[in-house]
């Protein structure tokens, strides 16, 4: 089939806020507010952003661990967002998830072998006990866990090895897509590298698609094919890896990239330090959601919300008034030029002499 594996169209999730004496709804948290993207077979799309931007909620809505408020989710062109739990169940085989915390996402009372066998048994993928055991040991080899781990409990393992168990469990039903929700964030540097490399190797061997949800841009740059940057429930920029890291267009993407500390004291960079905090998603600011912190804000940003538009003829989409050249009349031309000039200052820094 030629279409994308997964397509998300205008996904929204508004969590109701209850207050008052009788628990009436007093407002909504706009966690995800109109997000669209596609993932192809064998591709990694990374969803990056800071805490509270809604990136994890997107992942949970795709799996219906959280019920979306509006929007469509399509797997191989078939809508899955409105299916009944029973009709969705067989499709769950095809989308699996690895959670952030390997300590709370594994049942402490089950043996590692049983944890990995559970999806195989639940989906009826093996005919007898021996077949289950064969598949489990195959999966354990695949994630480089020692065979004797099968009879032990999760607490006997380190964080990195537990995450391997979580990955083996996700691989067990033979999925097409794995959602990695901050799957390496809780791990130490040296172990993180092991798990990141394992995920990349598994993707190459099995042709998996990955939705890699992370706040760590340096890790994302290593693992991803495409990147979507989220801010306050919306995607502000989406493009292939090289373009995004070489020429980020949205001011938020630029600030985010410049804020990452680089492990090399000889590099000096001009940092864009954003003032203030992320506004509350209960009352998101009107217009562009980033305008309260944007160093290049001008009048249209305060009233009109920019939509995702392609830059030139590339596949880079940016939601910023500064990047949509034809969107505004000549009166803004001068303002645009000065803002754009300062926006294109060098980002990646130069070596000191």
């Amino acid at each position: 089939m030629s279409g994308p594996l997964l397509e998300v169209r205008n996904l929204k999730k508004h969590f109701p806020l209850q207050g008052g004496l009788f628990g009436s709804v007093t407002g909504y948290v706009h966690a995800v507010d109109g997000v669209s993207f596609t993932i192809n077979r064998g591709e990694t799309l990374s969803l990056v952003g800071e805490s509270g931007c809604g990136k994890s909620t997107v992942g949970r809505c795709i799996l219906r661990l959280t019920e979306p408020t509006a929007g469509e989710v399509l797997l191989d062109g078939q809508r899955i967002d409105h299916l009944s739990p029973g009709a969705l169940r067989p499709l769950r085989q095809r989308i699996q998830i690895v959670f952030q915390d390997p300590f709370s996402s594994l049942n402490p009372r089950m043996r590692v072998g049983d944890i990995i066998a559970e999806p195989i048994i639940n989906f009826g993928l093996a005919n007898n006990k021996n077949e289950v055991e064969d598949r489990v040991s195959g999966l354990m080899d695949r994630v480089r866990l020692p065979r004797d781990a099968m009879r032990r409990h999760p607490h006997e393992f380190s964080g990195g090895q537990r995450q391997r168990v979580g990955i083996a469990r996700a691989l067990a039903p033979g999925p097409d897509l794995i959602i990695c929700d901050e799957a390496v964030s809780a791990l130490d540097v040296s172990v993180k590298a092991q798990i990141v490399n394992l995920l990349a190797a598994l993707q190459d061997e099995l042709g998996l698609a990955l939705l890699f949800i992370s706040h760590d841009l340096a890790i994302v740059e290593h693992v991803t094919h495409r990147v979507a940057v989220m801010y306050l429930g919306k995607i502000v920029e989406i493009s292939d890896r090289r373009t995004l890291f070489a020429s980020p267009q949205h001011p938020y993407t630029r600030a985010l990239l410049s804020a990452v500390p680089v492990p090399d004291p000889s590099v000096r960079r001009d940092r864009i330090v954003l003032r203030g905090d992320v506004p509350s998603p209960i009352n998101p600011p009107p217009g562009c959601r980033f305008h309260t912190r944007c160093p290049f804000v001008f009048d249209p940003c305060r009233t009109a919300a920019p939509s995702l538009r392609p830059i030139g003829k590339t596949e880079q989409l940016v939601a910023c008034h500064l990047s949509s050249d034809a969107a505004f009349g000549q009166s803004n031309a001068a303002q645009l030029q000065t803002a754009a000039a300062s926006k294109n200052a060098p980002l990646h820094g130069q070596k000191r002499d």
């Binding site: 090895q161 040296s190 993180k192 290593h222 680089v262 000889s266 940092r271």
Partner: protein
């Protein structure tokens, strides 16, 4: 004389399953006004070292040996009443979790003022106006209103600013910051690191920065101490550590860190260098070099004899049998 001298510090914990050797003979100094980063992965003993300096490790179950000399006085010999005079006054502390280290039922102004009233005997009113000055200093807008707010009304970045205000209230000579930005988002981390650098220039405190993030180290530190399994494995100036790492663990750590901008050099996705294996258990005494089990260059010698920390180049100490000696002749 250095401001802080840690001399063969040993912190062991007695547990029902045996002794955990969290810190095993660590020595380093911090000079007046200097920023020293202590780097390592979880369980390497960096936080326990900080807690031992502050006398916050209860004995028993812990047993602390060695010496910690602050301005010439051995803190391990001081009675608790003397330590109380030091903590928050001469030595300030910033913890990782700003939410759990602030008292949720007290206004932030009162929490900042507490240190001032205790150590500097300020009146309630004087403490509050000083608290407002401090909130201004750490860049909290509308300090006059914020001083009467509770921690839950502040964002994570603001809470960490309050923690810094508390730590700096009495102009400490040494500030211990244990993973001060780990719980924060990158854009907020950038703000807090900027603030810490700026305050250091203005107030001149020495900083002991504990972190696992080598990016933060590169931005902040003048000198770096690398720890592994409760031991110091390398110490050098920050530039030296990054340009010329000697210990195989330091090299592995630097190789395993993903670097921003890699897509500009390789168009294909690249694999990260891994350090194979796991950190050894601290419950059993380690024979030989603690890193031998994971080291690509380990020999029989490494498995039998623990290497001593030696100066292998000027101001560059390494604990490895195979680190080259490089002294200009």
């Amino acid at each position: 004389m250095a401001l802080l001298e840690i001399d063969r510090l040993q912190t062991h914990f007695g547990t029902p399953d045996g002794v955990v050797r969290a810190v095993e003979g660590v020595s380093f100094n911090i000079e007046e006004g200097e920023t020293v980063a202590v780097v390592g992965e979880s369980g390497c003993g960096k936080s326990v070292t900080a807690m031992s300096i502050l006398g916050l490790v209860p004995q028993p179950p812990a047993r602390i040996a060695g010496a910690i000399r602050f301005a010439g006085r051995n803190l391990l010999d001081l009675p608790e009443s003397e330590m109380r005079k030091l903590r928050g006054n001469d030595i300030g502390m910033i913890f990782q979790e700003p939410m759990s280290s602030l008292n949720p039922v007290l206004m932030v102004g009162r929490q900042i003022g507490e240190t001032l009233r205790l150590h500097q005997r300020l009146s309630r009113r004087a403490a509050e106006s000083r608290a407002i000055e401090l909130l201004d200093l750490v860049g909290i807008p509308e300090a006059r209103r914020r001083v009467r707010e509770y921690p839950y009304q502040l964002s994570g970045g603001m809470r960490q600013r309050v923690m810094i205000a508390i730590a700096l209230a009495c102009n400490p000579r040494l500030l211990i910051a244990d993973e001060p930005t780990t719980a924060l988002d990158v854009t907020i981390q950038a703000q807090i690191l900027d603030l810490m650098r700026d305050l250091k220039h203005r107030l001149g405190s020495a900083i002991m920065l504990i972190t696992h993030d080598l990016g933060v180290v590169a931005e902040m530190a003048e000198r770096v101490v690398v720890m592994y399994a409760g031991r110091k494995v390398e110490e050098a100036a920050a530039g030296d550590i990054f340009a010329n790492p000697q210990h195989p663990y330091t090299r592995g750590l630097l190789g395993a860190v993903p670097k921003l901008g890699c897509s500009l050099e390789h168009s294909e996705r690249s694999t990260l260098a891994e350090i194979p294996g796991l950190v050894p258990s601290l419950r059993k005494p380690i024979v030989g070099c603690a890193f031998a089990g994971r080291c690509p260059k380990a020999t029989q010698l490494c498995r039998e004899l623990a290497p001593a920390v030696e100066e292998k180049a000027p101001h560059h100490q390494v604990a490895c049998h195979f680190a080259e000696r490089k002294f200009p002749t």
